[in-house]
Symmetry: C2
C-alpha cells in the first residue's frame, strides 16, 4: 500500500495522514492538540510520537508546508512585477493568504523557530528571496536587502494588523483596497 490505506494495526502512511488531518483542523478553526489530531486520525494518543519528536516538530512541518503554499500563491499566474502597483498586488495576495488561513499563518510566523526545522528555514528563505527579487526588479537602484526587508515587512505588518483586528476590515475586498492604498501612500 503506497498511500494511506488501512490494514488494521499498522497504518501505512501515518505521518502524511497526521499532517493532512492537522492541516484540515487548523483551517477549520478547531482547537489544535496532538491528542485531538491522533483522535481525528483514528489512532492512539501517543502514535504521533513515532513520526514527530514533539508537538513543535509537527507544527514546524505544518509551517513549512504553509510557507510553500504561500510561495505558490505569490508566484503562480503572475508576470514579474514591473511597477509599484504590481508590488501592491503581491501584498494583496500575501494578506489574503493570512486572512484565508489565519491559524496556519500564525503557526508559520508566531513561533520562535530558532533553526528548529531545516525545511521550514528553507521555505522561509525562499519567500524572502522571492520578495527581494520582486523589489529589486521594480527598484533596481536601491539596496536589495533593505528593499526586501521593507517590502516584506509592509506586507507582513498589514497581514498581522488585519489578523488582529487592529485595522477595521469587514469584507475581503475592503482589505485588498486598504493594502493597495497603503502601498500607494508610501512607495516611492
Amino acid at each position: 500500500m503506497s498511500t494511506s490505506e488501512k490494514s488494521g494495526y499498522h497504518h501505512g502512511d501515518l505521518r502524511a495522514a497526521l499532517l493532512t488531518t492537522a492541516m484540515r483542523m487548523l483551517e477549520a478553526g478547531e482547537p489544535f492538540s496532538l491528542r485531538a489530531i491522533a483522535r481525528e486520525a483514528g489512532v492512539s494518543p501517543t502514535a504521533p510520537y513515532r513520526h514527530f519528536a514533539d508537538r513543535d516538530a509537527l507544527e514546524s512541518a505544518l509551517a513549512a508546508q504553509g510557507l510553500r503554499d504561500l510561495k505558490v500563491d505569490l508566484a503562480e499566474g503572475r508576470t514579474p512585477p514591473e511597477s509599484p502597483r504590481d508590488l501592491a498586488e503581491l501584498a494583496v495576495t500575501y494578506v489574503a493568504f493570512a486572512l484565508r488561513r489565519p491559524a496556519l499563518f500564525r503557526l508559520m510566523f508566531g513561533n520562535a523557530c530558532d533553526g528548529g526545522s531545516e525545511e521550514r528555514v528553507q521555505a522561509a528563505a525562499e519567500i524572502h528571496e522571492l520578495l527581494r527579487a520582486a523589489m529589486v526588479r521594480v527598484f533596481p537602484s536601491g539596496d536589495a536587502e533593505a528593499l526586501a526587508a521593507a517590502g516584506w515587512a509592509l506586507a507582513h505588518g498589514l497581514a498581522y494588523l488585519h489578523l488582529d483586528g487592529k485595522l477595521p476590515a469587514t469584507s475581503s475586498g475592503e482589505v485588498a483596497d486598504r493594502v493597495r492604498a497603503a502601498f500607494a501612500a508610501i512607495l516611492c
Copy 2:
C-alpha cells in the same frame, strides 16, 4: 492597608500583585500560566479567578498595560516628527520595544482580541492615533488613514520579522540600522 500589604488570609491588593508578578515572569521568559502566577504570588491556584474571569482576561490586562508602555516609549522625550528620518527613529523605538519585551509584545498582538477588553481596545486605538498623527505631520498631503496603516504596518512587520528570526539580526544596534535602511529604501 492600601497597597499590597499582607495580612495572612486576605491579601490587600491581589489584582495588582498578580499583574506585576505576571509581567515580571513574562519578561523573565518564564513559562506563563495562571497557576504559576498564583504560585509565584504565594496564593492558591484559583485565587486569580476572584479578579479575572479567565486566563484571557488576565492576558488582556497585561496586553493593555504593554500597549500603554509602548505608547509612552513612542511619545517620551521626542519632538514631533518632521522628516522621514524622524519616522524611522519612531520605528526604531517600536522594534526595540518588541525585541526588549518579546513575550509581552506577542501577547499584545498575537491574540484575536475581538473586542475582549475595553481598556485594551482603547490602548491600541491610542497607538494607532499617535502613529497616524506622526505620518500626517510628515506627509500632510496624503490620505491619513492609508498613511497610518502603512507606517504602522512597516514598523510592525519589521518588529515581527525580527522577533521570529526571519531577518538576520545579532546586535540591537544592527537591528536599528536595518530599520533605518528599510525606511530610507521605501519612504517617499
